[in-house]
């Protein structure tokens, strides 16, 4: 059985699309069994925006998405795939 976290995924998609220049290039893949893992791909030029200086933006995204996952009663990981 694979894990699902619809709220977290919705929040993640919202955050990423808000931050990037090319929302159409955003792709989120879900994997994992007991724990949802989101792998995020964005347009090349947007990677820096999503990560931020010293990973600050990426960490902020993780914090918010983890909070959202509490509604889904699950835990999640977010990976940004280069």
């Amino acid at each position: 059985m694979s894990a699902e976290a619809p709220t977290a995924e919705g929040v993640l998609a919202f955050l990423i699309r808000t931050i990037v220049e090319e929302p159409d290039a955003v792709h989120i893949e879900t994997s994992g069994d007991d724990r949802c893992k989101f792998s995020v791909t964005v347009a090349d030029g947007d990677m820096g925006r999503v990560i931020g200086k010293r990973g600050r933006v990426a960490n902020a995204i993780r914090t918010i998405v983890r909070a959202a996952a509490i509604s889904d009663e699950t835990e999640i990981d977010v990976d940004f795939v280069d």
Partner: protein, 338 residues
């Protein structure tokens, strides 16, 4: 924006000191190393590291032209006129005086009402930098769509923004950041941030109302509602994360030319935290005065430490200092040596 100079045994120490004094998070600090710490060849003489630091202005482009634009796009007439005076010395008048309304545009009465006097005083006492981290959020709320409150402070025909800067002394930005520009820019930012916060909380399945307050060069956006704990997080970590993203979005949409300082709150968390810290600081200071023994508080972020420094600086007989580095940095309250 005023520069301060700090010293420390290492550059990091000096930097931590600057963060404390300015009360900002690390990414908001701009600094230059004036001198590295050094030792003489025999290791006998030690020189401290020295730096020059300030709060990083969020505005990178001169916006002189904005001075002459009309700021009163919304709310019709809260901040008109004011071109005739950046009459700096004149701003500390007591609230309620209106004797100077005849001196210029009548609308100026509104100006000056939004100055957080308490804060200005506090920051003056502590001799600290721009009190970015300590805006008095409780005062003067302006909701979108309503006209700003009129409180008859003024006492001078001076424009509040410039006037407050002078008042606070250290908050002066470059002359290019005209007060009018600040106001306009923040209104645009507030739309962006409100939309973002409302959209985010909606995605999180939370029911909230989002309101903005603009006070001088500070934009506060707050999500209000019940059961917002999810969006606050452990010790406010989610609030901070939301703020971080909001700043990122504003910076991007404005192409780095956003002015002012943005703070995002959820469910009144920041305000509660501040009130809590102030009371905590006063209690601890009293305990120190009681038995004359210094107390080290728990480790805190720089904005929280600044609340402690500011609160304790108003109490006679005690002084504060930060010790430790990075995540372990904490405030020590100690009795003042006679």
């Amino acid at each position: 924006m005023e520069w301060i100079e700090t010293t420390g045994a290492t550059v990091d120490d000096a930097k931590e000191r600057a963060l404390d004094r300015l009360g900002v998070a690390e990414d908001e600090l701009e600094y230059e190393i004036l001198a590295e710490a050094s030792r003489s060849m025999l290791g006998l003489k030690k020189t401290d590291a020295r730096l020059r630091a300030r709060v990083r202005p969020r505005q990178s482009l001169p916006r002189v032209e904005r001075r002459d634009r009309d700021r009163n796009r919304r709310g019709g007439g809260s901040r008109g006129g004011g071109r005739n005076g950046r009459n700096k010395g004149n701003s500390r008048g007591e609230g309620g005086k209106q004797e100077s309304t005849g001196r210029g545009n009548r609308r100026k009465q509104d100006d000056g009402s939004q100055r957080p006097r308490k804060d200005a005083d506090r920051s003056e006492k502590s001799g600290n930098g721009p009190n970015r981290g300590s805006g008095d959020r409780s005062s003067r709320r302006r909701r979108r769509g309503e006209s700003p409150e009129t409180v008859g402070d003024v006492g001078s025909g001076v424009e509040s923004t410039g006037d407050d800067r002078a008042d606070r002394g250290r908050n002066d930005r470059s002359p290019a950041s005209a007060p009018k520009g600040v106001q306009m820019e923040l209104e645009t930012q507030s739309e962006i941030v409100e939309e973002f916060v409302a959209g985010l909380l909606d995605e999180m399945g939370l029911d909230a109302r989002v309101v903005s307050t603009i006070q001088e060069d500070r934009l506060s956006v707050e999500a209000q509602g019940l059961n917002l704990g999810l969006a606050i997080g452990h010790r406010g970590e989610t609030v901070r994360a939301i703020t971080e993203i909001a700043r990122t979005i504003v910076q991007r949409r404005s192409e780095g030319a956003a002015v002012g300082f943005l703070s995002v709150d959820v469910g009144g968390y920041r305000e509660r935290r501040r009130t809590f810290l102030e009371e905590f600081a006063r209690n601890q200071a009293e305990a120190v005065l009681g038995d004359g023994r210094a107390r080290a508080l728990e480790a805190m972020g720089s904005a929280d430490r600044k609340v402690i420094h500011d609160t304790v600086s108003e109490i006679d007989g005690v002084e504060t200092e930060s010790e430790g580095s990075d995540r372990d940095r904490r405030v020590v309250i100690r009795p003042v040596a006679d």
